[in-house]
């Protein structure tokens, strides 16, 4: 079945530590991939997106993500987490035949940063 999975509901990291948030999708072809972040009481802000080309994508706030076709994954990474990164992160995919006119979102991962 077509789906987007974020296997980690909560992740806690220490400030300054590295971060990796996982995202897997189920779809036969290459989808369009997005990572959004939502701070408490706020809407979603786009961090980065992948459409084609270089599989390592750079985004805002020092985030990057790597598309791995063989693993159907699009994991989000940051080398050094700041306290202000505490938020909820959503992976989303869009593709003809998969989602029609909309994005399909994963369930989200809540990031907690401890000092």
């Amino acid at each position: 079945a077509q789906s987007v999975t974020q296997p980690d509901i909560h992740i806690t990291v220490s400030e300054g530590a590295s971060l990796e948030l996982r995202c897997n999708y189920s779809y036969g072809a290459t989808p369009y991939l997005f990572w959004y972040v939502q701070s408490p009481g706020q809407g979603l802000q786009l961090l980065l997106k992948y459409f084609s080309g270089d599989t390592l994508v750079q985004g805002i706030k020092g985030f990057e993500a790597e598309f791995k076709r063989s693993q159907s994954s699009f994991n989000l990474r940051k080398p050094s987490v700041h306290w202000s990164d505490a938020a909820e992160y959503f992976c989303a995919v869009g593709a003809q035949g998969f989602s029609g006119n909309k994005l399909v979102f994963g369930a989200g991962t809540i990031l907690r940063v401890k000092s």
């Binding site: 809407g43 802000q45 006119n101 909309k102 979102f105 994963g106």
Partner: protein, 118 residues
Amino acid sequence: GAGVSQSPSNKVTEKGKDVELRCDPISGHTALYWYRQSLGQGLEFLIYFQGNSAPDKSGLPSDRFSAERTGGSVSTLTIQRTQQEDSAVYLCASSPQGGAPTYQETQYFGPGTRLLVL
């Protein structure tokens, strides 16, 4: 320029009442989306408008939900006879729809309307 705005930011209503939620998309954006974010359900697509085309209503959960977009700009989501399970954050997004399929476009989200049905 201004982002997507939504009003009200919070709405408390009694079960059985009707509510209207408003979305003002980014100026010039022709595509507009409504999503619902609730505990246990995550972010769910509700409805999509593109220009003067018929909307994609495939995500509306019941016939109590409807939406319209007047003049290709402002959109109103209406929930009739609200139920407690309608309590959620309702998010609106817009995208430029500059010729590419919409699933390729970046969607810009508003801050949402938090609806609580008592």
